[in-house]
């Protein structure tokens, strides 16, 4: 009977990724000079379970590779080897390598083994260089082991107790591991003496015992490891076995094969065992493992994203539903024989129902929330790698890792943060000698902080580096024609310039120390999450980037506005102010587009009914129309609407799901009365209005 293992693949991948995270974190925290035994154990265990899982599911590429990693860790654990910077780097690289192998396997593609083979080679060189430089000599230079760690060959007697199979252990798998260890140079003998007659055979019992001869020098501990799990359920004797017995035994093997092929009745299981094990030729072994690989490829490339939810959240959800059911049955009873005197009870019941519903909604939303440590956890590695490559000394301080954030937001905020942190290290923090000269500690600090603030999540990235160079930014901006030479800008406005697209060209890297490279992309990504980014900086003391994000993408704080018969929703975060038109000074530029003079700024005016081609109502006098001033990508526009309605939280629904993307619209929602209202995409609208202004212009020309 075969079980379709593919159903467990998803779990295996998730657990392995978790294991890799554990390894990575452990390795980063490890002090190579004085490694903590418990930490090394943790790393080792993670590697071991990845290897075990990969072996079980037939991902031999992963298990083979992880094996060398594990061996190295094992030697460190046993005190046979000390860690150094180089091996730590190598181990970290191996984590990346295993991750990319797993990702390829998960996607159903064939993993690229070039880099893994290369890395594996390095591991093997490292392993052979240390504890036993000469494998031919049974050396003791490991010091601690009494047995010679290697011999020319091994004789392994494996005599399982009948109940071995019931414990979930599979001899075939162990033997395959042994075959791999001996590079296919092996032969076996099977003892079928205890095999009962076919009628009394219980296929779930194991009646066979085996003697395996490995012809290759292998570490004894590696063999022991194979049987690690079954020591209680089997008799295992491992003896050194000399090479010169080989020929003699080969003869015997031939005899064995002859007997086994026309031997007594064998269960199908022993049959298949024999097939695998009696194949002297290593080629056949590769063939035997062939189908596994095919199966891996054939597995559908399912990419179902899943969340691991803490049981507490599920429990509270269940409690909430329980209460809802109670309220519902109470209301049901009330409805059965209702009279006016019981209206008080009804009102109470409805209030309770409302409360339950709201709590339920909150709990359901919480399921999507995950601690931001999922994003933060990748940064220690980033900081380490970048600082090593730049010869800088940096300490990363993180706080608020437990602050929770919607999973979709989390997935999208990672890249902008990587960019900001890399910038802080690369361009913010000075080299140790310069820091020393300036009277700062040689080690720079990058602080990451996350916290909740009035329905938003705030993420701060702060460094104690040189700070932004105002003069240079301004100089560059004038050169680029982004600002006018005579314009007076305050600090905030100057720092804001680094988010201008003009600053992201490559030639900036040298003279503006690259601070602005790609910052426009960072801002755009954050804006696409309905969030904002702000920068503070003080020369010589450091810079601080503050990202504000909504807690979830599914709900938006919206301002409802009316245009003609239709209701639109503006995201509240983009609204700067709303002004009645008659109080304003409107200017006409070139007789075509209107501009609003707002204090010392000129803001272009966009009439929503024109852009979206809506019949406006004549009920509202031109002068009584409202202009909503909104800001997006650092640009303000004024949008003319008929009326401001309520502010409320709206649930965002996709228009693209059944229709398609609409320019100037980011989604839809359902209002209290069941009608659909569209949510305005502010940045899309300002682009669109630019286009529509041109259309108006050309129409007028045509008319003229």
């Amino acid at each position: 009977m075969s079980i379709d293992l593919s159903q467990f693949h998803q779990v295996f991948f998730e657990e392995s990724y978790e294991g890799l995270d554990i390894m990575e974190n452990g390795l980063l925290q490890l002090d190579v000079n004085a490694p903590d035994a418990e930490e090394i154990n943790t790393i080792f265990r993670a590697a071991h379970s990845i290897k075990g899982g990969a072996g079980t599911f037939g991902f031999t590429i992963v298990s083979d590779f992880t094996h060398v990693v594990e061996t190295l860790l094992d030697e460190v654990r046993d005190g046979k080897r000390s860690l150094d910077q180089g091996s730590q780097d190598l181990l970290l690289k191996s984590v990346d390598c295993i991750r990319s192998l797993l990702e390829a396997l998960q996607a159903g593609s064939t993993p690229d083994t070039n880099s893994s083979d290369e890395l594996k080679q390095k591991f093997e060189t490292l392993l052979s260089s240390g504890s036993s430089p000469n494998p031919a000599v049974s050396s003791d230079d490991g010091g601690s082991s009494e047995e010679p760690p290697k011999a020319n060959g091994w004789k392994v007697l494996f005599k399982p107790q009948p109940h071995l199979l019931m414990t979930g252990n599979e001899p075939v798998r162990m033997f395959r591991q042994l075959i791999e260890l001996s590079d296919g140079q092996y032969h076996t003998e099977v003892n079928i003496e205890k095999l009962p007659s076919f009628t009394s055979l219980d296929p779930e019992q194991c009646f066979l015992s085996w003697t395996l001869y490995l012809h290759n020098p292998v570490e004894k501990t590696e063999i022991e490891e194979v049987f690690e799990w079954v020591l209680d359920d089997a008799e295992v004797v491992i003896e050194a076995w000399s090479e010169n017995l080989k020929s003699e035994i080969e003869e015997q093997t031939e005899k064995d094969e002859a007997t086994s092929s026309d031997g007594p009745v064998q269960s199908s299981e022993t049959d298949s065992l024999d097939k695998t094990l009696s194949s002297e030729d290593s080629k056949e072994v590769t063939k035997a493992s062939g189908p596994d690989k095919v199966a891996v490829k054939a597995a559908p490339a399912k990419e179902s994203s899943s969340i691991r939810v803490s049981i507490d959240k599920v429990d509270s959800l269940i409690n909430m539903v329980g209460e809802l059911v109670i309220t519902q049955s109470m209301l049901g009873q009330l409805g059965e024989n209702f009279d006016a005197s019981r209206i008080q009870n009804l009102q109470e019941g409805l209030a309770q129902l409302e409360q339950n519903t709201r709590e339920l909604q909150e709990s359901v939303m919480k399921i999507r929330m995950m601690p931001i440590s999922f994003v933060f956890s990748r940064f220690p590695r980033l900081v380490r790698d970048v600082s090593v490559s730049l010869n800088k000394r940096i300490e990363l301080v993180m706080s608020g890792e437990h602050t929770e954030l919607d999973k979709t937001v989390m997935e999208k905020i990672g890249d902008p943060m990587v960019h900001l942190i890399r910038n802080s290290i690369d361009h913010g923090i000075e080299l140790p000698e310069i820091r020393k000269q300036n009277g700062k500690p040689e080690t720079g600090t990058v602080e990451l902080n996350a916290y909740h603030q009035s329905g938003n999540i705030v993420i701060e990235i702060k460094d104690d580096g040189a700070g932004l160079n105002k003069e240079k930014i301004l100089e560059k901006a004038i050169l680029k024609g982004i600002v006018d030479e005579n314009q007076n800008l305050n600090d905030e406005q100057i720092f804001d310039l680094i988010f201008q697209p003009g600053f992201s060209t490559a030639d900036q890297v040298s003279d503006l120390s690259g601070r602005g490279v790609g910052m426009d992309v960072v801002r755009r990504n954050i804006a696409s999450l309905n969030g904002s980014i702000e920068v503070k900086s003080e020369t010589g003391k450091g810079s601080q980037f503050i990202i504000r994000l909504p807690l979830t993408l599914a709900i938006l704080d919206g301002q409802l506005v009316r245009v003609g018969e239709q209701t639109f929703i503006f995201p509240l975060v983009s609204i700067v102010e709303s002004i009645q038109q008659n109080e304003l000074e409107l200017n006409n530029v070139g007789g075509q587009s209107d501009v609003l003079k707002l204090r010392d700024e000129y803001v272009p005016i966009v009439a929503l009914h024109q852009v979206f081609d809506i019949q406006t109502d004549n009920k509202v006098d031109e002068d009584e129309k409202i202009i909503v001033v909104v800001e997006s990508d650092g640009e303000k526009i004024g949008i003319v609407v008929d009326e401001l309605l309520a502010q409320q939280q709206v649930v965002i629904k996709s228009l693209e799901e059944n229709y398609q993307k609409v320019e100037g619209i980011s989604g839809a929602t359902i209002l209290g009365d069941g009608r659909v209202a569209l949510i305005v995409d502010i940045s899309g609208l300002s682009k669109l209005s630019g286009a529509s202004n041109k259309t108006i212009e050309s129409n007028r020309h045509q008319a003229a």
């Binding site: 081609d613 809506i614 059944n658 229709y659 609409v662 839809a668 659909v676 569209l678």
Partner: protein
């Protein structure tokens, strides 16, 4: 082995599909009944900016945003004012691994027919603009029914 393969082919030849038919401008059109999710009355839809003239807007269908298409406008037939009796057929069609739900406005629902696949005649109305929406023609009770290709119909252009 051969026998079973032939059986399958035979079976397929005898296979029928069920079509829901509706009337528009005096003609009877048929759509695969498996794609029909529900039939509703007309309710006002929220217009979508910059949409083609045949898109009437979107409605809220139990929490899902569903676009509604006027089939008369899609076929460039003369406009008919909507009334309480105007029918919206909500269709669910899977194209290239995504499935879309859309409503189409038709004049009236007519009937459901079992149509043997072999009876469907292909058309060669090459120069007709609407022919790309047509899967084939079939005669039922001596009347012509135009079977529609839903995937094409619901693909926006």
């Amino acid at each position: 082995m051969n026998a079973t393969e032939e059986d399958v082919i035979d079976h397929e030849e005898l296979d029928t599909e069920q079509y829901l038919t509706f009337i528009m401008d005096g003609e009877e059109y048929g759509i695969d009944i498996l794609a029909v999710q529900e039939i509703r009355g007309w309710e006002s839809a929220t217009p979508i900016p910059h949409s083609p003239p045949y898109m009437k807007g979107v409605i809220n269908l139990r929490g899902t945003i569903v676009p509604i298409m006027d089939l008369r406008a899609r076929f460039s037939l003369p406009f008919q004012p909507y009334t309480e009796e105007t029918v919206v057929v909500v269709l669910k069609v899977a194209t290239d691994s995504i499935s879309r739900t859309m409503g189409i406005i038709v004049d009236a629902i007519s009937d459901v027919y079992d149509i043997p696949l072999e009876n469907i005649k292909s058309t060669s109305l090459a120069d007709n603009q609407n022919s790309r929406f047509i899967k084939g023609l079939v005669t039922v009770k001596e009347r012509m029914v135009i079977l529609l290709e839903l995937e094409k119909l619901l693909t926006l252009d």
